[in-house]
Amino acid sequence: MSSRSPTDTAVSPSPNPTSRIEHLPAITAVVWVNLLLVVAYSGAFGRVVASERMENWATVFLSLMLQAMPFLVLGVVVSAAVSTLVPTAWFERALPKSPVLAVPAAGAFGALLPGCECSAVPVAGRLMQRGVPQAAALTFLLASPAINPVVVVATSVAFPNQPMMVLARFLASFVAAVTVGLLWQRFASPEILSARITRLVEHHRHDDNTPKVRAFANVAIADFTQAGGYLVLGAMLVATFQALIPSTTLDRFGGDGIVPILTLAALAVVLSICSEADAFVAASLSRFSLTARLVFLTVGPMVDLKLVALQSGTFGRRFTQRFAPLTFLVCVASGVAVGQILLGGT
Protein backbone atom coordinates (compact mmCIF):
# COMPACT_ATOMS: atom_id res chain seq x y z
CA MET A 1 0.00 0.00 0.00
CA SER A 2 1.36 3.39 -0.91
CA SER A 3 1.28 5.29 2.30
CA ARG A 4 1.86 8.80 0.98
CA SER A 5 -0.79 9.03 -1.72
CA PRO A 6 -3.23 11.96 -1.59
CA THR A 7 -6.25 9.69 -1.11
CA ASP A 8 -4.74 8.28 2.02
CA THR A 9 -3.87 11.59 3.53
CA ALA A 10 -7.33 12.93 2.72
CA VAL A 11 -8.85 10.84 5.49
CA SER A 12 -5.96 10.95 7.88
CA PRO A 13 -5.81 13.36 10.79
CA SER A 14 -4.89 16.79 9.69
CA PRO A 15 -1.44 17.77 10.86
CA ASN A 16 -2.37 21.22 12.09
CA PRO A 17 -2.85 22.00 15.79
CA THR A 18 -6.64 22.24 15.48
CA SER A 19 -6.93 18.49 14.86
CA ARG A 20 -7.54 17.72 18.49
CA ILE A 21 -10.30 20.28 18.67
CA GLU A 22 -12.02 18.48 15.76
CA HIS A 23 -12.32 15.35 17.82
CA LEU A 24 -13.88 17.07 20.77
CA PRO A 25 -17.52 16.46 19.70
CA ALA A 26 -16.87 12.74 19.32
CA ILE A 27 -15.09 12.55 22.65
CA THR A 28 -17.81 14.45 24.43
CA ALA A 29 -20.49 12.29 22.79
CA VAL A 30 -18.89 9.09 24.02
CA VAL A 31 -18.21 10.52 27.46
CA TRP A 32 -21.84 11.54 27.62
CA VAL A 33 -23.08 8.13 26.70
CA ASN A 34 -20.90 6.54 29.35
CA LEU A 35 -22.13 9.02 31.91
CA LEU A 36 -25.71 8.20 30.92
CA LEU A 37 -24.93 4.55 31.37
CA VAL A 38 -23.61 5.00 34.87
CA VAL A 39 -26.38 7.38 35.92
CA ALA A 40 -29.12 5.24 34.42
CA TYR A 41 -27.97 2.02 36.01
CA SER A 42 -27.81 3.72 39.35
CA GLY A 43 -31.55 4.21 39.05
CA ALA A 44 -31.71 7.97 38.51
CA PHE A 45 -33.71 7.51 35.34
CA GLY A 46 -37.30 6.37 35.10
CA ARG A 47 -37.98 3.53 32.73
CA VAL A 48 -38.62 4.91 29.26
CA VAL A 49 -40.74 2.26 27.61
CA ALA A 50 -43.77 2.54 25.38
CA SER A 51 -45.00 -1.06 25.68
CA GLU A 52 -43.93 -4.43 26.93
CA ARG A 53 -43.43 -5.62 23.37
CA MET A 54 -41.01 -2.79 22.67
CA GLU A 55 -39.23 -3.53 25.90
CA ASN A 56 -38.93 -7.17 24.81
CA TRP A 57 -37.49 -5.96 21.51
CA ALA A 58 -34.81 -4.11 23.45
CA THR A 59 -34.12 -7.15 25.64
CA VAL A 60 -33.71 -9.45 22.62
CA PHE A 61 -31.56 -6.88 20.82
CA LEU A 62 -29.28 -6.36 23.83
CA SER A 63 -29.11 -10.12 24.41
CA LEU A 64 -27.91 -10.67 20.86
CA MET A 65 -25.29 -7.94 21.20
CA LEU A 66 -24.02 -9.03 24.62
CA GLN A 67 -23.92 -12.66 23.55
CA ALA A 68 -21.98 -11.78 20.41
CA MET A 69 -19.58 -9.47 22.25
CA PRO A 70 -17.22 -12.11 23.74
CA PHE A 71 -17.08 -13.96 20.44
CA LEU A 72 -16.54 -10.82 18.40
CA VAL A 73 -13.78 -9.69 20.75
CA LEU A 74 -12.15 -13.14 20.56
CA GLY A 75 -12.45 -12.85 16.78
CA VAL A 76 -10.82 -9.43 16.52
CA VAL A 77 -8.04 -10.43 18.92
CA VAL A 78 -7.27 -13.52 16.81
CA SER A 79 -7.55 -11.45 13.63
CA ALA A 80 -5.19 -8.84 15.05
CA ALA A 81 -2.75 -11.62 15.92
CA VAL A 82 -3.07 -13.00 12.39
CA SER A 83 -2.43 -9.52 11.02
CA THR A 84 0.42 -8.37 13.23
CA LEU A 85 2.10 -11.29 15.00
CA VAL A 86 2.02 -14.41 12.81
CA PRO A 87 4.69 -14.43 10.08
CA THR A 88 3.42 -14.89 6.55
CA ALA A 89 5.58 -17.95 6.04
CA TRP A 90 3.60 -19.76 8.73
CA PHE A 91 0.45 -19.73 6.61
CA GLU A 92 2.35 -21.02 3.60
CA ARG A 93 3.64 -23.94 5.63
CA ALA A 94 0.36 -24.67 7.41
CA LEU A 95 -1.85 -24.99 4.35
CA PRO A 96 -1.35 -27.33 1.39
CA LYS A 97 -0.44 -25.59 -1.88
CA SER A 98 -3.23 -27.11 -3.96
CA PRO A 99 -6.59 -25.38 -3.36
CA VAL A 100 -8.37 -28.73 -3.59
CA LEU A 101 -6.44 -29.80 -0.48
CA ALA A 102 -6.24 -26.37 1.17
CA VAL A 103 -10.02 -26.01 1.32
CA PRO A 104 -10.75 -29.14 3.40
CA ALA A 105 -7.69 -28.40 5.53
CA ALA A 106 -9.08 -24.94 6.27
CA GLY A 107 -12.40 -26.55 7.15
CA ALA A 108 -10.61 -28.76 9.67
CA PHE A 109 -8.82 -25.70 11.10
CA GLY A 110 -12.25 -24.14 11.60
CA ALA A 111 -13.00 -26.80 14.19
CA LEU A 112 -10.22 -25.40 16.36
CA LEU A 113 -11.63 -21.90 16.92
CA PRO A 114 -14.27 -22.34 19.60
CA GLY A 115 -16.36 -19.35 18.65
CA CYS A 116 -19.69 -18.34 17.28
CA GLU A 117 -20.09 -17.03 13.76
CA CYS A 118 -19.09 -13.56 14.96
CA SER A 119 -15.49 -14.63 15.65
CA ALA A 120 -14.82 -16.10 12.25
CA VAL A 121 -15.66 -13.12 10.03
CA PRO A 122 -12.81 -10.76 10.99
CA VAL A 123 -10.37 -13.68 11.19
CA ALA A 124 -11.26 -14.83 7.65
CA GLY A 125 -10.75 -11.31 6.32
CA ARG A 126 -7.28 -11.05 7.85
CA LEU A 127 -6.35 -14.56 6.67
CA MET A 128 -7.08 -13.54 3.07
CA GLN A 129 -5.10 -10.36 3.55
CA ARG A 130 -2.15 -12.46 4.65
CA GLY A 131 -2.28 -14.50 1.46
CA VAL A 132 -4.37 -17.51 2.46
CA PRO A 133 -6.38 -18.57 -0.64
CA GLN A 134 -9.84 -17.00 -0.63
CA ALA A 135 -11.65 -20.32 -0.94
CA ALA A 136 -9.75 -21.73 2.04
CA ALA A 137 -10.47 -18.67 4.19
CA LEU A 138 -14.17 -18.84 3.25
CA THR A 139 -14.34 -22.52 4.15
CA PHE A 140 -12.78 -21.66 7.51
CA LEU A 141 -15.39 -18.91 7.90
CA LEU A 142 -18.24 -21.39 7.36
CA ALA A 143 -16.81 -24.37 9.21
CA SER A 144 -15.58 -22.61 12.35
CA PRO A 145 -18.96 -21.78 13.94
CA ALA A 146 -20.63 -24.99 12.77
CA ILE A 147 -18.33 -27.78 13.86
CA ASN A 148 -16.27 -26.55 16.79
CA PRO A 149 -16.12 -28.67 20.00
CA VAL A 150 -18.52 -26.47 21.98
CA VAL A 151 -21.20 -26.85 19.31
CA VAL A 152 -20.71 -30.61 19.15
CA VAL A 153 -21.17 -30.92 22.93
CA ALA A 154 -24.23 -28.62 22.95
CA THR A 155 -25.83 -30.67 20.18
CA SER A 156 -25.27 -33.95 21.97
CA VAL A 157 -26.77 -32.50 25.17
CA ALA A 158 -29.81 -31.16 23.31
CA PHE A 159 -30.49 -34.42 21.47
CA PRO A 160 -29.86 -37.07 24.15
CA ASN A 161 -32.01 -39.65 22.37
CA GLN A 162 -30.61 -39.09 18.89
CA PRO A 163 -26.85 -39.62 19.04
CA MET A 164 -26.77 -39.68 15.23
CA MET A 165 -27.76 -36.02 15.22
CA VAL A 166 -24.27 -34.96 16.36
CA LEU A 167 -22.56 -36.91 13.60
CA ALA A 168 -25.14 -35.75 11.06
CA ARG A 169 -24.64 -32.11 12.02
CA PHE A 170 -20.86 -32.41 11.86
CA LEU A 171 -20.94 -34.12 8.46
CA ALA A 172 -23.60 -31.90 6.89
CA SER A 173 -21.79 -28.73 8.01
CA PHE A 174 -18.33 -29.92 6.97
CA VAL A 175 -19.55 -31.07 3.56
CA ALA A 176 -21.42 -27.79 3.03
CA ALA A 177 -18.43 -25.64 4.03
CA VAL A 178 -15.99 -27.54 1.80
CA THR A 179 -18.45 -27.60 -1.12
CA VAL A 180 -19.00 -23.86 -0.96
CA GLY A 181 -15.23 -23.31 -0.79
CA LEU A 182 -14.58 -25.51 -3.81
CA LEU A 183 -17.45 -23.96 -5.82
CA TRP A 184 -16.12 -20.49 -4.97
CA GLN A 185 -12.63 -21.56 -6.02
CA ARG A 186 -13.91 -22.91 -9.32
CA PHE A 187 -16.50 -20.33 -10.37
CA ALA A 188 -16.12 -17.04 -8.54
CA SER A 189 -13.94 -14.21 -9.77
CA PRO A 190 -11.23 -13.44 -7.21
CA GLU A 191 -11.74 -9.71 -7.85
CA ILE A 192 -15.03 -9.78 -5.96
CA LEU A 193 -13.02 -10.12 -2.78
CA SER A 194 -9.52 -8.92 -3.57
CA ALA A 195 -10.64 -5.34 -4.16
CA ARG A 196 -12.12 -5.32 -0.70
CA ILE A 197 -9.38 -7.17 1.11
CA THR A 198 -6.63 -4.82 -0.01
CA ARG A 199 -8.63 -2.00 1.54
CA LEU A 200 -8.35 -3.55 4.99
CA VAL A 201 -5.81 -1.59 6.93
CA GLU A 202 -2.37 -3.05 6.29
CA HIS A 203 -0.56 -2.89 9.56
CA HIS A 204 1.91 -5.64 9.10
CA ARG A 205 5.21 -4.13 8.21
CA HIS A 206 8.31 -5.73 9.63
CA ASP A 207 10.39 -2.73 8.77
CA ASP A 208 8.45 -0.19 10.78
CA ASN A 209 9.16 0.59 14.39
CA THR A 210 5.61 0.98 15.59
CA PRO A 211 5.42 -0.96 18.84
CA LYS A 212 3.68 -4.29 18.16
CA VAL A 213 1.20 -3.72 20.94
CA ARG A 214 -0.03 -0.48 19.38
CA ALA A 215 -0.37 -2.01 15.91
CA PHE A 216 -2.18 -4.95 17.50
CA ALA A 217 -4.62 -2.69 19.38
CA ASN A 218 -5.26 -0.60 16.26
CA VAL A 219 -6.11 -3.60 14.09
CA ALA A 220 -8.31 -5.12 16.79
CA ILE A 221 -10.19 -1.88 17.42
CA ALA A 222 -10.59 -1.16 13.69
CA ASP A 223 -12.01 -4.63 13.09
CA PHE A 224 -14.24 -4.36 16.16
CA THR A 225 -15.85 -1.06 15.20
CA GLN A 226 -16.26 -2.11 11.59
CA ALA A 227 -17.85 -5.48 12.35
CA GLY A 228 -19.68 -4.06 15.38
CA GLY A 229 -21.74 -1.56 13.39
CA TYR A 230 -22.96 -4.28 11.07
CA LEU A 231 -23.57 -6.57 14.01
CA VAL A 232 -25.88 -3.93 15.51
CA LEU A 233 -27.71 -3.71 12.20
CA GLY A 234 -28.11 -7.50 12.07
CA ALA A 235 -29.26 -7.69 15.70
CA MET A 236 -31.85 -4.97 15.07
CA LEU A 237 -33.24 -6.94 12.11
CA VAL A 238 -33.34 -10.17 14.09
CA ALA A 239 -35.06 -8.59 17.10
CA THR A 240 -37.61 -7.01 14.77
CA PHE A 241 -38.36 -10.29 13.01
CA GLN A 242 -38.67 -12.07 16.33
CA ALA A 243 -41.10 -9.42 17.55
CA LEU A 244 -43.23 -9.45 14.39
CA ILE A 245 -43.47 -13.12 13.47
CA PRO A 246 -45.68 -15.11 15.82
CA SER A 247 -44.21 -18.56 16.11
CA THR A 248 -47.68 -20.09 15.74
CA THR A 249 -47.18 -19.57 12.01
CA LEU A 250 -44.67 -22.41 12.33
CA ASP A 251 -47.44 -24.82 13.25
CA ARG A 252 -48.86 -24.66 9.76
CA PHE A 253 -45.70 -26.05 8.24
CA GLY A 254 -44.91 -29.06 10.42
CA GLY A 255 -44.77 -32.62 9.08
CA ASP A 256 -43.06 -34.21 6.09
CA GLY A 257 -41.96 -33.01 2.68
CA ILE A 258 -39.87 -30.15 1.40
CA VAL A 259 -42.02 -27.29 2.71
CA PRO A 260 -41.19 -27.83 6.41
CA ILE A 261 -37.50 -28.19 5.49
CA LEU A 262 -37.49 -24.87 3.67
CA THR A 263 -39.50 -23.33 6.51
CA LEU A 264 -36.88 -24.26 9.09
CA ALA A 265 -34.08 -23.20 6.73
CA ALA A 266 -35.71 -19.77 6.44
CA LEU A 267 -36.34 -19.71 10.19
CA ALA A 268 -32.64 -20.35 10.83
CA VAL A 269 -31.76 -17.33 8.67
CA VAL A 270 -34.27 -15.06 10.40
CA LEU A 271 -33.75 -16.11 14.03
CA SER A 272 -29.92 -15.90 13.86
CA ILE A 273 -29.49 -17.97 16.99
CA CYS A 274 -25.94 -18.47 18.22
CA SER A 275 -24.55 -21.77 16.96
CA GLU A 276 -23.91 -22.86 20.55
CA ALA A 277 -27.60 -22.53 21.45
CA ASP A 278 -29.43 -23.41 18.25
CA ALA A 279 -29.45 -27.12 19.07
CA PHE A 280 -31.72 -26.43 22.07
CA VAL A 281 -34.16 -24.53 19.89
CA ALA A 282 -34.01 -27.25 17.25
CA ALA A 283 -34.76 -29.82 19.94
CA SER A 284 -37.85 -27.85 20.95
CA LEU A 285 -39.25 -27.81 17.40
CA SER A 286 -40.78 -31.21 17.96
CA ARG A 287 -43.34 -30.94 15.19
CA PHE A 288 -40.65 -31.00 12.53
CA SER A 289 -38.77 -34.02 11.19
CA LEU A 290 -35.18 -34.66 12.24
CA THR A 291 -33.99 -33.89 8.72
CA ALA A 292 -35.76 -30.52 8.75
CA ARG A 293 -34.11 -29.77 12.11
CA LEU A 294 -30.72 -30.88 10.76
CA VAL A 295 -31.16 -28.37 7.91
CA PHE A 296 -31.98 -25.74 10.55
CA LEU A 297 -28.72 -26.57 12.35
CA THR A 298 -26.69 -26.59 9.12
CA VAL A 299 -28.01 -23.32 7.70
CA GLY A 300 -28.05 -21.33 10.97
CA PRO A 301 -24.32 -21.04 11.68
CA MET A 302 -23.48 -20.31 8.02
CA VAL A 303 -26.28 -18.04 6.75
CA ASP A 304 -28.25 -15.81 9.07
CA LEU A 305 -29.21 -12.13 9.13
CA LYS A 306 -26.65 -11.21 11.78
CA LEU A 307 -23.88 -13.05 9.95
CA VAL A 308 -24.80 -11.75 6.49
CA ALA A 309 -24.71 -8.21 7.91
CA LEU A 310 -21.27 -8.87 9.38
CA GLN A 311 -20.02 -10.40 6.12
CA SER A 312 -21.15 -7.49 3.98
CA GLY A 313 -19.39 -5.22 6.44
CA THR A 314 -16.09 -7.00 6.01
CA PHE A 315 -16.29 -8.32 2.45
CA GLY A 316 -18.71 -5.94 0.73
CA ARG A 317 -22.19 -6.20 -0.67
CA ARG A 318 -21.11 -7.59 -4.05
CA PHE A 319 -19.59 -10.56 -2.26
CA THR A 320 -22.55 -11.16 0.03
CA GLN A 321 -25.06 -11.11 -2.83
CA ARG A 322 -23.30 -14.11 -4.33
CA PHE A 323 -21.97 -15.90 -1.29
CA ALA A 324 -25.06 -15.97 0.97
CA PRO A 325 -27.51 -17.52 -1.57
CA LEU A 326 -24.86 -20.05 -2.68
CA THR A 327 -24.17 -21.06 0.92
CA PHE A 328 -27.88 -21.29 1.71
CA LEU A 329 -28.58 -23.66 -1.19
CA VAL A 330 -25.55 -25.83 -0.48
CA CYS A 331 -26.46 -26.06 3.21
CA VAL A 332 -30.04 -27.13 2.49
CA ALA A 333 -28.85 -29.73 -0.03
CA SER A 334 -26.16 -31.04 2.29
CA GLY A 335 -28.55 -31.18 5.27
CA VAL A 336 -31.20 -33.05 3.29
CA ALA A 337 -28.67 -35.50 1.85
CA VAL A 338 -27.01 -36.30 5.17
CA GLY A 339 -30.42 -36.43 6.87
CA GLN A 340 -31.66 -38.98 4.34
CA ILE A 341 -28.69 -41.21 4.95
CA LEU A 342 -28.16 -40.89 8.72
CA LEU A 343 -31.51 -39.87 10.17
CA GLY A 344 -33.84 -42.07 8.14
CA GLY A 345 -35.46 -39.92 5.50
CA THR A 346 -37.45 -36.72 5.85
Binding site: Y41, V49, V60, Q67, V201, Q242
Partner: protein, 276 residues
Amino acid sequence: MRPFDPPLLAIASGTLAVRVGTTDLVFRYLRPSMRPWLIASGVVLLALGAIALWDAWQRTRPHKPVGSTDPAFAPDQVAHAHEHHATWLCWLLLLPVALGAIVDPRALGAASVSQNRGARQAFSEPFDLQNYLATHTTGGQAPQLTMAQYITAARNPADRDALNATEIRLLGFVVPHPTDPARRLFSRLQVGCCAADAVPLVVEVTVATTSPNARSDAPRWPEANQWVEITAKLDGPLTDGIISANTDRVEQFAMAAVTASAVRLVDAPEQPYEYP
Protein backbone atom coordinates in the same frame (compact mmCIF):
# COMPACT_ATOMS: atom_id res chain seq x y z
CA MET B 1 -13.88 8.17 10.66
CA ARG B 2 -11.54 10.20 12.81
CA PRO B 3 -8.73 8.48 14.69
CA PHE B 4 -10.25 8.94 18.14
CA ASP B 5 -13.63 7.52 17.21
CA PRO B 6 -12.93 3.74 17.00
CA PRO B 7 -11.14 3.59 20.38
CA LEU B 8 -13.87 5.61 22.04
CA LEU B 9 -16.61 3.43 20.55
CA ALA B 10 -14.75 0.35 21.77
CA ILE B 11 -14.46 1.87 25.24
CA ALA B 12 -18.20 2.63 25.28
CA SER B 13 -18.98 -0.98 24.29
CA GLY B 14 -16.49 -2.30 26.83
CA THR B 15 -18.12 -0.20 29.55
CA LEU B 16 -21.52 -1.71 28.69
CA ALA B 17 -20.12 -5.24 28.79
CA VAL B 18 -18.38 -4.73 32.14
CA ARG B 19 -21.36 -2.89 33.66
CA VAL B 20 -23.83 -5.60 32.64
CA GLY B 21 -21.42 -8.43 33.39
CA THR B 22 -20.57 -7.34 36.91
CA THR B 23 -24.19 -6.91 38.05
CA ASP B 24 -27.34 -9.02 38.13
CA LEU B 25 -28.34 -7.33 34.86
CA VAL B 26 -26.46 -10.08 33.07
CA PHE B 27 -29.16 -12.63 33.96
CA ARG B 28 -31.73 -10.69 31.95
CA TYR B 29 -29.77 -11.32 28.79
CA LEU B 30 -27.41 -14.27 29.03
CA ARG B 31 -27.07 -17.66 30.63
CA PRO B 32 -24.90 -17.43 33.76
CA SER B 33 -22.00 -19.38 32.27
CA MET B 34 -21.50 -16.59 29.72
CA ARG B 35 -20.87 -14.08 32.50
CA PRO B 36 -17.06 -14.40 32.84
CA TRP B 37 -16.66 -14.23 29.07
CA LEU B 38 -18.73 -11.05 28.89
CA ILE B 39 -16.66 -9.40 31.62
CA ALA B 40 -13.42 -10.57 29.99
CA SER B 41 -14.47 -9.19 26.59
CA GLY B 42 -15.36 -5.86 28.20
CA VAL B 43 -12.00 -5.65 29.93
CA VAL B 44 -10.16 -6.53 26.70
CA LEU B 45 -12.12 -3.85 24.82
CA LEU B 46 -11.32 -1.25 27.48
CA ALA B 47 -7.61 -2.16 27.42
CA LEU B 48 -7.30 -2.25 23.61
CA GLY B 49 -9.38 0.93 23.39
CA ALA B 50 -7.08 2.69 25.84
CA ILE B 51 -3.96 1.63 23.92
CA ALA B 52 -5.46 2.66 20.57
CA LEU B 53 -6.62 5.96 22.07
CA TRP B 54 -3.15 6.71 23.37
CA ASP B 55 -1.73 5.72 19.98
CA ALA B 56 -4.15 8.08 18.20
CA TRP B 57 -3.20 10.83 20.63
CA GLN B 58 0.49 10.27 19.86
CA ARG B 59 -0.10 10.31 16.12
CA THR B 60 -2.09 13.53 16.12
CA ARG B 61 0.42 15.43 18.22
CA PRO B 62 0.82 18.75 16.41
CA HIS B 63 4.62 18.84 16.62
CA LYS B 64 4.94 15.48 14.84
CA PRO B 65 4.10 16.26 11.20
CA VAL B 66 2.35 13.47 9.27
CA GLY B 67 4.86 13.69 6.49
CA SER B 68 7.70 12.76 8.80
CA THR B 69 9.74 9.70 8.00
CA ASP B 70 8.80 8.01 11.24
CA PRO B 71 6.51 5.16 10.13
CA ALA B 72 4.74 5.22 13.47
CA PHE B 73 3.12 8.43 12.32
CA ALA B 74 2.25 7.33 8.81
CA PRO B 75 -1.34 8.24 7.97
CA ASP B 76 -2.36 4.71 6.98
CA GLN B 77 -1.52 3.51 10.45
CA VAL B 78 -4.73 5.16 11.52
CA ALA B 79 -7.44 2.70 12.33
CA HIS B 80 -9.79 3.68 9.55
CA ALA B 81 -10.34 0.39 7.82
CA HIS B 82 -13.49 1.46 6.08
CA GLU B 83 -13.19 4.95 4.72
CA HIS B 84 -14.46 3.72 1.35
CA HIS B 85 -17.84 2.56 2.57
CA ALA B 86 -20.48 3.29 5.17
CA THR B 87 -18.45 4.66 8.06
CA TRP B 88 -21.55 5.90 9.83
CA LEU B 89 -22.59 2.29 10.55
CA CYS B 90 -20.02 1.96 13.32
CA TRP B 91 -21.84 4.70 15.23
CA LEU B 92 -24.63 2.16 15.62
CA LEU B 93 -22.43 0.70 18.36
CA LEU B 94 -23.75 3.50 20.55
CA LEU B 95 -27.29 2.11 20.21
CA PRO B 96 -26.90 -0.84 22.62
CA VAL B 97 -25.07 1.43 25.05
CA ALA B 98 -27.83 4.03 24.91
CA LEU B 99 -30.62 1.42 25.05
CA GLY B 100 -29.04 -0.15 28.10
CA ALA B 101 -28.83 3.24 29.75
CA ILE B 102 -32.19 4.75 28.83
CA VAL B 103 -34.58 1.83 28.35
CA ASP B 104 -32.83 -0.58 30.73
CA PRO B 105 -35.19 -3.34 29.54
CA ARG B 106 -36.38 -5.98 31.98
CA ALA B 107 -36.12 -9.70 31.44
CA LEU B 108 -38.52 -11.22 28.92
CA GLY B 109 -41.98 -11.84 30.36
CA ALA B 110 -45.60 -12.56 29.53
CA ALA B 111 -45.64 -10.64 26.24
CA SER B 112 -42.76 -12.76 24.97
CA VAL B 113 -44.54 -15.96 26.02
CA SER B 114 -47.67 -14.92 24.13
CA GLN B 115 -45.52 -14.13 21.12
CA ASN B 116 -43.76 -17.46 21.19
CA ARG B 117 -46.60 -19.88 21.73
CA GLY B 118 -46.73 -22.73 19.31
CA ALA B 119 -45.25 -26.10 18.65
CA ARG B 120 -42.49 -26.21 21.21
CA GLN B 121 -41.23 -28.81 23.61
CA ALA B 122 -39.58 -28.44 26.99
CA PHE B 123 -35.98 -29.52 27.18
CA SER B 124 -34.65 -31.19 30.28
CA GLU B 125 -31.69 -33.40 30.82
CA PRO B 126 -32.77 -36.87 31.93
CA PHE B 127 -33.03 -37.09 35.70
CA ASP B 128 -34.25 -39.62 38.25
CA LEU B 129 -37.51 -38.16 39.56
CA GLN B 130 -38.19 -40.87 42.18
CA ASN B 131 -34.76 -40.46 43.69
CA TYR B 132 -35.05 -36.67 43.60
CA LEU B 133 -38.42 -36.71 45.35
CA ALA B 134 -37.14 -39.13 47.97
CA THR B 135 -34.16 -36.95 48.83
CA HIS B 136 -35.71 -33.47 48.55
CA THR B 137 -38.75 -33.70 50.82
CA THR B 138 -37.44 -31.89 53.86
CA GLY B 139 -39.06 -29.89 56.61
CA GLY B 140 -42.59 -30.59 55.41
CA GLN B 141 -42.05 -28.39 52.35
CA ALA B 142 -42.97 -29.78 48.98
CA PRO B 143 -39.93 -30.47 46.76
CA GLN B 144 -39.18 -27.95 44.04
CA LEU B 145 -38.72 -28.75 40.35
CA THR B 146 -37.90 -26.51 37.43
CA MET B 147 -40.68 -26.04 34.90
CA ALA B 148 -38.64 -27.93 32.31
CA GLN B 149 -38.13 -30.87 34.66
CA TYR B 150 -41.80 -30.87 35.61
CA ILE B 151 -43.12 -30.76 32.05
CA THR B 152 -40.67 -33.42 30.93
CA ALA B 153 -41.63 -35.68 33.84
CA ALA B 154 -45.34 -35.04 33.20
CA ARG B 155 -44.87 -36.50 29.73
CA ASN B 156 -42.93 -39.51 30.92
CA PRO B 157 -45.29 -42.45 31.70
CA ALA B 158 -42.87 -43.73 34.33
CA ASP B 159 -43.04 -40.46 36.29
CA ARG B 160 -46.73 -39.64 35.87
CA ASP B 161 -47.98 -41.47 38.96
CA ALA B 162 -45.48 -39.79 41.23
CA LEU B 163 -46.51 -36.32 40.01
CA ASN B 164 -50.21 -37.22 40.33
CA ALA B 165 -49.62 -38.16 43.97
CA THR B 166 -46.94 -35.72 45.11
CA GLU B 167 -47.18 -31.98 45.64
CA ILE B 168 -44.40 -30.07 43.89
CA ARG B 169 -43.42 -26.42 44.16
CA LEU B 170 -43.06 -24.57 40.85
CA LEU B 171 -41.84 -21.02 40.25
CA GLY B 172 -43.02 -18.89 37.34
CA PHE B 173 -44.82 -15.73 36.31
CA VAL B 174 -48.46 -15.23 35.37
CA VAL B 175 -49.38 -15.18 31.70
CA PRO B 176 -52.83 -14.13 30.45
CA HIS B 177 -54.65 -16.80 28.45
CA PRO B 178 -54.87 -15.68 24.81
CA THR B 179 -58.58 -16.46 24.38
CA ASP B 180 -60.22 -17.41 27.68
CA PRO B 181 -59.60 -15.03 30.63
CA ALA B 182 -61.04 -17.60 33.06
CA ARG B 183 -58.16 -20.01 32.42
CA ARG B 184 -55.03 -19.56 34.47
CA LEU B 185 -51.56 -19.90 33.03
CA PHE B 186 -48.11 -19.40 34.40
CA SER B 187 -44.79 -19.73 32.69
CA ARG B 188 -41.03 -19.60 32.81
CA LEU B 189 -38.72 -19.05 29.85
CA GLN B 190 -35.92 -21.48 29.10
CA VAL B 191 -32.81 -19.87 27.66
CA GLY B 192 -30.08 -21.87 25.92
CA CYS B 193 -27.52 -19.12 25.37
CA CYS B 194 -29.18 -15.70 25.39
CA ALA B 195 -32.71 -14.34 25.71
CA ALA B 196 -33.07 -14.32 21.91
CA ASP B 197 -33.44 -18.11 21.94
CA ALA B 198 -35.95 -18.25 24.83
CA VAL B 199 -38.48 -21.09 24.72
CA PRO B 200 -41.60 -20.60 26.89
CA LEU B 201 -42.61 -23.35 29.32
CA VAL B 202 -46.29 -22.92 30.17
CA VAL B 203 -48.41 -24.75 32.75
CA GLU B 204 -52.16 -24.38 33.20
CA VAL B 205 -53.38 -24.10 36.80
CA THR B 206 -56.63 -25.00 38.48
CA VAL B 207 -56.77 -23.60 42.01
CA ALA B 208 -58.37 -26.09 44.39
CA THR B 209 -60.44 -23.60 46.44
CA THR B 210 -62.50 -26.35 48.07
CA SER B 211 -59.46 -28.15 49.36
CA PRO B 212 -59.39 -27.93 53.17
CA ASN B 213 -55.76 -26.91 53.23
CA ALA B 214 -56.05 -24.42 50.39
CA ARG B 215 -53.96 -21.42 51.32
CA SER B 216 -53.73 -18.88 48.59
CA ASP B 217 -52.40 -15.33 48.63
CA ALA B 218 -54.34 -14.68 45.48
CA PRO B 219 -58.12 -14.91 45.56
CA ARG B 220 -58.10 -13.88 41.94
CA TRP B 221 -55.43 -14.92 39.42
CA PRO B 222 -52.74 -12.22 39.63
CA GLU B 223 -51.85 -9.73 36.95
CA ALA B 224 -49.57 -10.71 34.08
CA ASN B 225 -45.85 -10.93 34.99
CA GLN B 226 -46.50 -11.37 38.73
CA TRP B 227 -44.17 -14.08 39.98
CA VAL B 228 -45.90 -16.90 41.83
CA GLU B 229 -44.82 -20.05 43.63
CA ILE B 230 -47.38 -22.76 43.15
CA THR B 231 -47.69 -25.94 45.17
CA ALA B 232 -49.54 -28.41 43.03
CA LYS B 233 -50.21 -31.95 41.89
CA LEU B 234 -50.36 -32.95 38.25
CA ASP B 235 -53.79 -32.81 36.60
CA GLY B 236 -53.41 -36.01 34.61
CA PRO B 237 -56.57 -35.92 32.44
CA LEU B 238 -56.13 -32.25 31.47
CA THR B 239 -52.44 -32.85 30.68
CA ASP B 240 -53.42 -35.78 28.44
CA GLY B 241 -55.85 -33.50 26.65
CA ILE B 242 -53.12 -30.92 26.11
CA ILE B 243 -50.66 -33.51 24.83
CA SER B 244 -53.08 -35.00 22.34
CA ALA B 245 -54.19 -31.54 21.22
CA ASN B 246 -50.57 -30.55 20.69
CA THR B 247 -49.85 -33.50 18.44
CA ASP B 248 -52.99 -32.56 16.55
CA ARG B 249 -51.62 -29.19 15.44
CA VAL B 250 -53.91 -27.17 17.67
CA GLU B 251 -52.55 -23.87 18.88
CA GLN B 252 -52.10 -25.06 22.40
CA PHE B 253 -50.49 -22.82 24.91
CA ALA B 254 -49.85 -24.95 27.95
CA MET B 255 -47.59 -28.03 28.08
CA ALA B 256 -49.00 -29.54 31.28
CA ALA B 257 -51.82 -28.86 33.75
CA VAL B 258 -51.78 -28.88 37.54
CA THR B 259 -54.19 -28.55 40.44
CA ALA B 260 -52.77 -26.08 42.93
CA SER B 261 -53.34 -26.23 46.67
CA ALA B 262 -51.38 -23.05 47.30
CA VAL B 263 -50.48 -19.98 45.26
CA ARG B 264 -47.94 -17.67 46.85
CA LEU B 265 -46.98 -14.28 45.41
CA VAL B 266 -43.19 -13.97 45.35
CA ASP B 267 -40.53 -11.55 44.15
CA ALA B 268 -38.87 -12.16 40.82
CA PRO B 269 -35.89 -14.50 41.26
CA GLU B 270 -32.37 -13.24 40.66
CA GLN B 271 -32.10 -15.48 37.60
CA PRO B 272 -35.34 -15.01 35.64
CA TYR B 273 -34.82 -17.86 33.18
CA GLU B 274 -34.25 -21.60 33.36
CA TYR B 275 -31.26 -23.07 31.58
CA PRO B 276 -31.00 -26.50 29.97
